[in-house]
């Protein structure tokens, strides 16, 4: 059983076929990167996987289960978490509260128990806070804990979003351009974190990325897409040398001669 797989996934917006019969699979424990020019449909694929968009045709399989007809809030329940290209944090809340929302699926208390704030609820809150603190330590967000997200710099917001996704204890993590807006050092940190996520946390990572050095450094396999279709797939080294990918995305370097 392939860990995660799409089968002939397509979506049409009016006259535009944004994603055209895409099929690819991700193995458990690997870091799988999707690259491609802007407008190639990469984020649309993510939106399809999170079921924000309903595919026009095709199916999505995760751990053998067909997820295609589920609701968006079910995706997280199955163990898939994601970050967004243009940050979608709860901007009026603190970093801590944002990440506590990530623990939502692990809650074990009912509405009325919470309204009465029974000791059981207090114990649960402490337990979840503990789990969140582990992620905060992992990402070095300690001094931002109580800051309202709206006031944080863009790079830090991206890291908070990563943290929030990690709090859901996912099996598969979708990262949409994790290094965009980050400077060289922050990108370096991000690379370490992604590797740690794979090695220490055992989470499979599916990411979209433009920064080729980051792609080369962390990815196990790469998929190149263009105009909604798959161009090529393989190891980073194979893809960088692939003529179609070079033509569509990486540049032929002819003008440099």
């Amino acid at each position: 059983m392939i860990f995660f797989q799409t089968e002939d996934l397509s979506i049409r917006f009016g006259g535009v076929l944004a994603v055209n019969s895409m099929s690819f699979g991700v193995d458990k424990g690997e870091i799988f990167t999707i690259i491609g020019p802007n407008g190639a449909g990469k984020t649309t694929i993510f939106n399809l996987i999170s079921l924000i968009y309903r595919p026009t045709s095709g199916r999505i399989f995760f751990e053998g289960k067909d997820l295609t007809k589920n609701r968006p809030s079910d995706v997280a329940r199955h163990g898939i978490a994601r970050t967004f290209q243009n940050i979608e944090l709860f901007e009026h809340e603190t970093v801590l509260k944002n990440m506590l929302v990530g623990r939502h699926l692990k809650r074990r208390t009912t509405l009325w128990e919470q309204a009465l704030f029974l000791p059981k609820v207090r114990r649960e809150e402490i337990m979840h806070r503990d789990a969140v603190e582990k992620v905060i330590d992992f990402l070095d967000l300690q001094h931002y804990r109580d800051s309202v997200v709206k006031n944080l710099p863009y790079g830090v917001q991206k890291i908070v979003e990563l943290g929030r996704a990690l709090c859901t204890e996912p099996k598969l993590l979708l990262l949409d351009e994790p290094s965009s807006g980050l400077n060289v050092e922050e990108t370096d940190d991000m690379a370490f974190w992604i590797e740690d996520i794979k090695k220490d946390l055992g989470i499979t990572v599916l990411m979209i990325e433009h920064d080729m050095s980051l792609v080369n450094r962390v990815s196990d396999r790469v998929l190149a897409v263009n105009e909604g279709c798959v161009l090529a797939s393989g190891t980073p080294a194979q893809l960088v040398a692939h003529p179609d990918v070079i033509a569509a995305y990486l540049g032929t370097g002819e003008n440099d001669k």
Partner: protein, 293 residues
Amino acid sequence: MLNQVLQLALSGVAIGSVYGLIALGFVLVYKATEIINFSQGELMMLGAFAGFTFVSLLGLPYWVSFILSIAFMFLIGVLLDLIVLRRILGHSAFSIIMVTIGFGYFMRGIVSMIPAWGTDTYNLPTPFSGSVLRFGGLALSGEYLSVIVMTIIICVILFCFFKWSRVGVAMQASSQNQLAAYYMGIPVRRVNTLTWGICAAAATFAGILLAPITFVHSNMGFVGLKAFPAAVLGGFGSLPGAIAGGIIIGLIESFSGFYLPEGIKDISAYVVLLIVLVIKPNGLFGERLTKKV
């Protein structure tokens, strides 16, 4: 029987045209600035009072008063934008709605305090009060006829304005993409001010046309709440849709007032609104208000 139906249809179209006119100003402002103007009804009320003042209190001829009222209210709309609305540009949609609600409340209070106006109900005499047009067994009162005719005239004027005049085209551009409009040299803030002026003018039209039918009083603005179902039915983004929505509401009210039990008429617009929203959450021809992530 057919006569009955046609008669009801006529009065429905007439009253619906007024709703449509109110909705028109409302949708105009929304398209340009994404502001939901909850004080549209009060603007209409103020316009009606302006008309009343010019005609009954100052004794000016009807058509002169009409034009003066529109000019006066245009100014009010402009002032509203300059003094209040420019300061809340950039605030959340909710805050802006609250400001318009506050403004509506404020206007209603002020109107009831002005000595010549107060809380009484006034009549606005028109050249066509009391006249009745009869054709083919149907009767249409002068007031209703004037409403239909004036609405058609306004729509034609606005259509030409938006299609052919520079300002009109600029307004359309600004409403579709503010940033691009700025880049093209369109003075967006001035265009917005102009939009508010036109919105208030449109409300005045509706108010003066409505005045012979509902009479002029400080609670007239509640009729403006009917603009919402009209705008939703027509889809928030469309000007012809607003008129169409208004007419549909007018027809529904007219027929339900006659055929259905008492009281249903007043809420028929809202029942239809709820039904439409449940089936099509973005209105009949509405734009999809989803965010792109």
